[in-house]
């Protein structure tokens, strides 16, 4: 994985000192809270309902064992002993003191981590495929391109105060595991007819109040024009994105209002101009970055056999592991969704244990997934049982990846100052209702996503089943949506009818799964059956 050189290290060190100075000016009263807010947001520091929340960047979701270990230590030392992994592959701490944040950042900088641009109206942490470098189906590792973009977007002087936040995702597989087309810019690395690698650009996707799937804006951007083209996309947005209404300020609204073709025309015009400016890093820089992402020293000639006599292990292997590109290895996903737990939360001890397993059994690498789980990307099959036993002992061996128990949920009204309803208790109730492994296995893949307000941080638009918490005359009310997907077959979920109480929505989901099981043909997933038979049979069972 990428290692800082002296320049990268100096950039984060200087940033820590800059932020320390900003906090000093805030504490002394030189800055008012109104003046400080956009500055602290550029560094991932929010003021939530009860305390400050600090969001730490995990670039493209990749972590070393030492980095993960420190995240556990920070949870102990500065928070209440746990951290929360987010849908953008980051981690956030919910109980932070303003005065301590510069020290936290200084500790992070020692392991090459930071909180730069994890919020605010700027280019956020670049996300990617959590299986990058390990997946059997990728054409190339997407992370070097994400790292190139990370450096370009860090403190970009022109794009620090955009109309609104800006999220970029880079993938390189046909199977989209990162919801690429639901980003402000989605980039898919592709190979053209001449066999060259380049970048396919999508722009104007997003969730929030107005969910949109990003249209393709360019088939192929050559690698030696990647930064220049990105800069053109951003400049058109910075100049013409709406600033009169924050709910219409994302690039998706600009692309929608101009129309895709007109946006493309403007970008191409700006691109042609910017190509005359010497702003593109040389390919040698990309090669330098790529050298950090060469495969670890995989052993060859390993057996693919796995002893599955332990039935609990077998269940976990079937549910939570994915094929690796190298024989004898496997990708293991650690579910942070125990029955009745808070999705994405992990205790300091659990975080340190995962760090240790990553170091010892996965070539010192871990990943955070946008579904709020942790991945050990390169586990030798011969070690898998040992790894599983250690996870099981720590309450980390829940076998529910991509099932109804593997819920994505935003922090909701328990923490967030924007929320209209709580998300966590609903997730917990659903997880308990479908707690039995047998029930989950019967229902199979069912991606369930909960947001506590229309900002959609819990990705409810992209859930096979989505839940949206709203405020109905002072009471929490939950709308149910069906049919969303974030994969290569991206679609947006639709509201099925009137909303429910907290318990009512859990009952409705159970009825929906019954309709699915009664109508399922062959290997169909819930989503496939829903797409085939439509909403009516479900509505009838739920409201009839």
């Amino acid at each position: 994985m990428y290692k800082y050189d002296e320049y990268d290290q100096q950039m984060v060190d200087v940033r820590v000192e800059e932020f320390r100075d900003q906090v000093r000016r805030r504490v002394s009263g030189e800055l008012t809270e109104d003046q400080f807010k956009p500055l602290r947001l550029q560094n991932g520091l929010y003021l939530q309902l009860h305390a400050y929340m600090l969001r730490v960047a995990v670039p493209y979701g990749t972590l070393s064992g030492a980095q993960m270990h420190l995240l556990g230590d920070i949870a102990d030392k500065y928070d209440r002993g746990y951290g929360h992994f987010t849908t953008r592959q980051n981690i956030q701490y919910n109980w932070i003191k303003l005065e301590e944040t510069p020290d936290i950042l200084a500790e992070l900088a020692k392991v090459e981590m930071h909180a730069i641009q994890t919020s605010g109206n700027c280019i956020r942490n670049i996300s990617s495929d959590q299986f990058a470098g390990a997946a059997a189906d990728e054409i190339i590792d997407p992370r070097p391109y994400a790292e190139l973009l990370r450096q370009w977007s860090s403190f970009h002087p022109e794009f620090l105060v955009l109309p609104r936040k800006f999220k970029i995702c880079v993938i390189a597989s046909e199977t989209d595991r990162a919801a690429m087309r639901l980003h402000d810019i989605g980039i898919k690395m592709v190979r053209n007819d001449a066999g060259e690698i380049g970048a396919q650009f999508y722009a104007g996707g997003g969730m929030g109040r107005t969910p949109m799937i990003a249209p393709l804006i360019r088939e192929f951007v050559p690698l030696d024009q990647l930064i220049t083209f990105s800069e053109a996309c951003l400049r058109v947005y910075n100049r013409y994105g709406r600033r009169d209404n924050k709910y219409k300020a994302r690039i998706k609204i600009l692309v929608h209002e101009l129309g895709r073709d007109e946006y493309v025309r403007q970008v191409e015009e700006e691109f042609a101009h910017l190509l005359t400016q010497p702003i593109e890093p040389p390919l040698a820089e990309l090669e330098r970055i790529k050298a950090h992402f060469v495969d670890p020293a995989f052993e060859t000639g390993l057996s693919n056999d796995l002893d599955l006599t332990d039935p609990d292990f077998r269940l976990w292997v079937e549910r939570n592991t994915t094929a690796h590109k190298v024989p004898g290895y496997v990708i293991a996903t650690i579910s942070l969704k125990p029955v009745g737990g808070i999705p994405g939360d992990a205790s300091a001890d659990q975080i340190r244990l995962m760090a240790k397993l990553g170091t010892e059994y996965s070539f010192d690498e871990l990943r955070v997934t946008h579904a709020q789980n942790i991945v050990l990307p390169h586990v030798k099959k011969a070690d898998l049982y040992t790894v599983w036993q250690a996870l099981d002992e720590a309450g980390l061996a829940t076998a529910n990846l991509d099932t109804v128990g593997d819920i994505i949920a935003c922090p909701g009204l328990d923490y967030c100052s924007l929320a209209n309803a709580r998300s966590i208790p609903v997730a917990q109730k659903i997880s308990e209702r479908f707690g039995s492994a047998q029930k989950q296995a019967e229902i199979g893949e069912l991606k369930l996503k909960i947001s506590g307000c229309i900002n959609a941080c819990g990705h409810h638009h992209a859930g096979h089943i989505g839940i949206l918490g709203v405020d109905k005359k002072g009471l929490e009310n939950y709308q149910l949506l069906f049919g969303g997907s974030e994969g290569a077959d991206t679609s947006l979920a639709k509201i099925i009818g009137p909303g429910f109480t907290e318990d009512g929505v859990v009952d409705a989901i159970e009825k929906a799964t019954q309709v699915y099981l009664a109508n399922k043909q062959g290997e169909e997933r819930f989503l496939d059956t829903y797409r085939r038979i439509g909403m009516d049979p479900f509505k009838e069972a739920i409201y009839g």
Partner: protein
Amino acid sequence: MVDVQFRFRDDEAVNDPAVTVDAFSEQSNATAVRIEPGEDARALLPYLDRIALVEVNFPAWTDGRGYSAARILREAGYAGELRGVGDLVIDMLHHMRRCGFDAFAPDKALNTTDAKNAFERWDNVYQATAIDGRQAIWAKRHPA
């Protein structure tokens, strides 16, 4: 007229009143012009050789259009004074320099020590803006 608090030029400061972009194209003798957010900096490109001062107004520093306006003018070869005016903050001074601003006239005077620190804080930068004369980190990594 607000005072210029920081200036990084050796020539005489221009004190002509700046006219609006619309008025400018009709006034053949004007040498100073002021761009508001939302106005197209490229409208000035045909006249760059007779402009001595461009003011870019920031009613709020969080409206980032002025940063693009500045870069566009510099990329087109504009060499006169480029002055940021309005709601300027310490924490953007360095980035404004990188976008091509070389004079700063904030509504409220900024703490000079803090401002000096801000201008000098970053020894290195990740991007080439092609206009501020600074070498990007990638260029230092791969000397020609």
